[in-house]
């Protein structure tokens, strides 16, 4: 096992037609890939409708494996005050940040609907992971505008605007210091470019397992040719600082 590798986003939950992993299989997958710790994010119905069920399930995984797993919680902002209450509960139960999937949860990133939820996140000093790349609801420049509006929050550009917002990615990420990149789905040269543009302290390694290939994503980081300190930050240090994941 490569000491200290942290995967900042792996997926858990059921999506039609796509694979899912229970906690034991997920840990085996991380073992096989040489990942020491992972931050699990909900997908599927846990994102769309059953937020609390997903948040509690992932918290139970983390409680059982505190040395290996942490998790993102999600709430749909359409639940209003219930969303704020659930998010406070989830943070108290150990969630490291908020995950949002605007295209699934049915809101635009610049909707006022989101503000009360973001207030809760900011009160707790946690980051926000946003799946970007779906037009209308979650474009990279929409997240950049949100980051300008909310300078007290840090936002992770989940999925890097894939696809076809690759041309927007760097203009969006360089909008302000409170935007963080992830590596998943990016080639080695772009990973090197992200580190050059943002600094390794704003680039997180992530695999998006089980949809994506852990070993191949790690190989892309290796091929980015980062200096050792930068490589260490991308593979774990940045996540440790942003998400409070001990290494």
């Amino acid at each position: 096992m490569t000491t200290g590798v942290v995967d900042a986003h792996v997926a858990a939950g059921d999506l039609p037609s796509l694979p899912t992993l229970g906690v034991d299989d997920l840990l085996h997958r991380l073992d096989d890939g040489g990942v020491e710790r992972a931050v699990v994010g909900p997908v599927g119905r846990w994102v769309a409708v059953d937020n609390e069920d997903g948040n509690r399930t992932l918290a139970s995984w983390c409680d059982a494996h505190p040395d290996r797993l942490a998790h993102w919680a999600t709430v749909s902002p359409w639940y209003g005050e219930r969303a704020a209450t659930e998010l406070r509960r989830a943070f108290a139960a150990g969630a490291r940040g908020l995950k949002l999937v605007p295209s699934v949860q049915g809101f635009g990133l610049l909707s006022p609907l989101l503000e009360p939820v973001l207030d809760v996140v900011e009160e707790h000093g946690r980051p926000v992971y946003v799946v970007t790349g779906v037009p209308v609801a979650s474009e990279p420049l929409q997240l950049a505008e949100l980051a300008l509006r909310r300078p007290g929050l840090t936002f992770v550009m989940g999925r890097s605007g894939r696809t076809d917002f690759s041309l927007d990615l760097l203009p969006a990420l360089t909008t302000g210091p409170n935007l963080v990149a992830e590596t998943a789905y990016n080639g080695a040269s772009l990973i090197a470019g992200l580190v050059a543009a943002l600094g390794a302290g704003r680039v997180l390694f992530s695999s998006d397992v089980p949809f994506n290939d852990l070993a191949l994503e790690l190989e892309r980081v290796d091929r980015a040719g980062l200096p050792e300190a930068g490589r260490a930050a991308v593979l774990g240090g940045t996540a440790a600082a942003l998400l409070g994941v001990a290494r």
């Binding site: 779906v134 076809d164 690759s166 040269s189 772009l190 290939d213």
Partner: protein, 250 residues
């Protein structure tokens, strides 16, 4: 296992990659990856001048002993678009690449009709960028295929991340719609496309020449993992035989 790569690009002339592009280097890289032949598409011809782009593609592929397969393009809005398609066919191009958002057209607009008719006449398939609205949604492109049942239409990316279910639906509904598995979507999505769509309709691509120089190696690693799960005959069809048939090589 050898591959026919149905999706590569000649770098844009304004890019640093253009200065480094050498035919022997490209062929040597293909050898290292097990790619016997590759379809080569323009980037500049999509954004600037289709005719000039086609001329450069012809030059780039000449002298490759048939390993670099030229694909042409036309600007469908131009009244002489069909003439340029005929010129591509006359010089031995294997298909026509179209990119709705780069070229600024919808596959459902009327000026597509003479282009589609010319493609049918000359037996050239359309390879159409898909997966990103507007106007490159798989179902928009599939309606063009539905209007021209004799036209072969390849969805060049299988719907990418968000519209792969639409690409599957299009391939299942319309006999003349095919899919190239090429893009940033993860292996789990490609695996599901293979599970649902008859393998005879599927081909592989890397998008090499566009963006990351490591792309072809990475994407072939994903493709190899999928091929390893298939019976030998299906794997060979997906890896090269279907592409050879689509491009008129058999």
């Amino acid at each position: 296992m050898t591959f026919v790569d149905l999706h590569t690009h000649l770098p844009a002339q304004a890019s640093p990659e253009w200065d480094r592009w050498r035919r022997p280097d490209v062929l040597a890289a293909m050898d290292r990856l097990g790619i016997t032949r590759a379809a080569v598409m323009t980037l500049d011809g999509l954004g600037y001048d289709a005719v000039a782009g086609n001329d450069v593609i012809a030059q780039a592929c000449a002298g490759s002993d048939g390993r670099l397969l030229p694909l042409g393009t036309v600007d469908p809005r131009r009244p002489d678009a069909a003439d340029e398609l005929h010129r591509c066919a006359d010089r031995g191009f294997h298909a026509l690449k179209l990119h709705p958002w780069m070229q600024g057209f919808s596959p459902l607009e009327a000026y597509m009709e003479p282009v589609a008719a010319a493609a049918i006449e000359r037996g050239l398939p359309f390879v159409v960028h898909d997966g990103t609205p507007p106007y490159a949604s798989p179902l928009q492109i599939a309606r063009l295929a539905a209007r021209f049942p004799e036209l072969t239409v390849v969805l060049a990316h299988g719907g990418l991340f968000d519209l792969w279910e639409d690409a599957v639906a299009a391939a299942l509904r319309y006999p003349n719609v095919h899919i190239t598995m090429c893009g940033t979507a993860p292996r789990a999505i490609f695996r599901e496309i293979v599970r649902r769509v008859p393998v005879a309709k599927l081909t592989l691509g890397t998008d090499s020449g566009f963006g990351d120089p490591d792309l072809s190696r990475h994407r072939l690693s994903v493709h190899r993992a999928i091929l390893a799960e298939l019976p030998d005959g299906d794997a060979a069809a997906l890896a090269h035989r279907n592409a050879e048939r689509l491009l008129g090589l058999t």
